[in-house]
Amino acid sequence: MTLDLLRFTTAGAVDDGKSTLIGRLLFDSKQVFEDQLEHVAEASERRGGEGALDLALLTDGLRAEREQGITIDVAYRYFATPKRRFIIADCPGHQQYTRNMVTGASTADLAVVLVDARRGVTEQSKRHAFISALLGIPHIVVAINKMDLVEHSQSRFDELAAEFSAFAEGLDAVTGRRLPETTYMPISALDGDNVVERSAQMPWYQGPALLELLEGVDVAYDHPFDRPARFPVQWVIRPGAGIAAGVNRDAPAGAGAADPDYRGYAGQLASGALRRGDEVAVLPGGGRTRIAAIDTYDGELEEAMAPMSLTLRLEDELDISRGELICRPEEAATVGRELEADVCWMTDRPLRPGERYVLKQTSRMATAIVDRIEDVVDVHTLQRTQPAEELALNDIGRVHLRTSVPLAFDPYTSNRRTGSFILIDQDSNETVGAGLIAAASA
């Protein structure tokens, strides 16, 4: 069975029904195992449920969450249909969990944003659309849920779709990028209408059911040949090296006994494709060479594409280390030490100018100083407000920062892998911020 893989997020307010939606997807596509259902049935009853299965409980794992009846962390669920394999990142809806929404969105190919047909387009739904757009999710499905409670009214659906669409048009200004492809869909997660099967109750809706759309949509790595190649070096393979931290010196001779002169640069292609013989540049150093071979455990490849993990052997003996980026010279990444980036702040202690953090981008580490905070996105209006003295927990704002060593990067709008970074607190080691590079600063 060869299937490709789609990652999508679900987001919505506490009672918008996203957990029910996931439960429904799993249940109807028959992925939910019997014993899990049993647990859920028992737990539903203990909670005073009336025998109807509370599908949302399938995704609430942690004790505290089950007790409070809400989801407070990203939960990952897995299912497959004959056409595709899926990973769902179920994200909390509340504003206080922006950091979790950003986390789930970072690797998603698609976002399902729920709108409660009765309550209408809320601040939370708007915020989720904003975060999805900012984080570069290429497709958004706005699922207008609980249609059963508004008598499956087409006019109500149209009204909400129009309202959301008008709001979404304003997003490109604040996110600085083209809007994701957006589809509007009327569903009832509770009844299953338009989730897996098309709804008999809403014949006026001509579009696909959710699962149908999920099975058909383009996936991030579908067109590797259309994008510039980016290969961050993660690890240098040198069997001859021997003396290194953690290497088992008393391993029997058989262990990886190989050509002692072998030197391979191992990593995962972040985007694009490379071929044997390609001329490449190594950034930020600037060295040039050709690819002598593309190695994998299963043999040499003539060509490799993202997201494969591989090992490159190069024609020239350049001194390349972890953190450097290999790409083609004619489509090189930007090199610089000064950046403008949108940062989502993820910790209690606010971000203030002048502070130093550890920055990790691809496999490269640097120290970064935040020179200034240009603006903060108002969480209610979703407008950028200037100026800003600090970024508080769950704030998203544009910052100007300087790094101790040059980075090789792309704007986040062009490349989610080479355009992203995290900030780490030097003392506590916590991950305190998520960054999306806008551009190099002058």
Binding site: Y78, N100, S106, F225, Q234, V247, T296, P307, S309
Partner: protein
């Protein structure tokens, strides 16, 4: 050199690539990693992933097995053979030794198991060797509390896991910075399902211990599960030993792992059986998860894998 086709990466290859990336990140950012190898199917997959990540060099870390002393003999035999094949170093951390040294107290009674004691042995071994990262084969689909686990799971000095204190994992940027005495569990196959694991084993032609395939063995029934009987097993009144054709979906300690009735005697048949199954791996076979609704969560907070 024409490019005839533009092949899609299959989901298994995409998952494999992600796992290799994780392992290389750990090798690069930690000083003393270790790979926890139990001889079970998930750790068997980890070994192959380590080969793909690091060959032609030796693994930049040893392998370690926390041995309860109550393992299926077939699994121990397999473990030793596979390690020798790979030419890598194996450390065996023994629960029996922990008991002998008074570090752990053996449970008594017919329902006794050394499952909980593994935590003590594991933490002691980590401290003794100074490991700062330990690879494990856990997956998020195994159990409800694991659905929220990160790929890098932070443990404090006591090996404890605080669900409120895990680091956000964005893109594929892992933050592995730790202080002295802290260590991380890393789960490269977090996003794999049980079916993915078996399909991978099949496509890679990996050998697994024979107990994964149906075989006849003396068993007894307890609490709705079929346990293997071995010399020294204490039976409760009314329990009887009988011979049954079973196989194991998961390989834990003999005292807490139940077998399932099955005639699946080949990899292909196992894959078909799993694809059709409606009961989760752990639900069917692990007594340790049944104690309470939040059993796994509680054990992780105490430092279990």
């Amino acid at each position: 050199m024409a490019i005839a086709t533009r092949p899609q990466l299959s989901h298994l290859r995409a998952l494999e690539s992600e796992a290799i990336h994780v392992m290389r990140e750990v090798a690069a950012e930690f000083e003393r990693p270790v790979l926890l190898f139990s001889g079970g199917k998930d750790s068997i997959v980890l070994l192959r992933l380590a080969e793909k990540a690091f060959r032609p060099a030796p693994f930049p870390f040893p392998l370690m097995h926390v041995d309860t002393g109550h393992n299926f003999p077939e699994v121990i035999e397999f473990r030793d053979r596979r390690v020798a094949e790979l030419g890598e170093r194996l450390i065996v951390a023994s629960v029996q030794e922990s008991i002998d040294q008074g570090r752990a107290v053996e449970e008594q009674g017919p329902r006794a198991s050394r499952n909980q004691l593994q935590t003590v042995t594991l933490l002691d071994a980590i401290a003794e060797h100074g490991f700062d990262a330990a690879f494990g084969g856990a997956r998020r689909d195994e159990e409800r509390a694991r659905a929220k686990e990160r790929v890098f799971s932070f443990r404090d000095d006591f090996g404890q896991w605080d669900p409120k204190n895990q680091r956000p994992e964005l893109w594929n940027l892992y933050n592995g910075r730790v202080k002295k005495g802290e260590n991380v569990r890393v789960f490269p196959i977090s996003n794999w399902t049980e079916l993915d694991v078996w399909e991978y084993i099949d496509s890679e032609g990996l050998e697994v211990p024979s107990i994964y395939f149906s075989h006849e063995r003396p068993v007894f029934k307890r609490d709705g599960m079929l346990y293997a009987w071995r010399e020294g097993t204490e039976l409760i009144e009314g329990e009887e030993i009988f011979s049954e054709t079973v196989r194991y979906r998961t390989v834990g300690d003999m005292s807490c792992t139940g077998g399932v009735l099955s005639k699946a005697s080949s990899l292909e048949q196992v894959v078909l059986e799993i694809a059709a199954t409606r009961i989760t791996e752990r639900g069917e076979t692990r007594a340790d998860d049944r104690v309470s609704e939040a059993a796994m969560e509680d054990r992780k907070k105490a430092g279990y894998f």
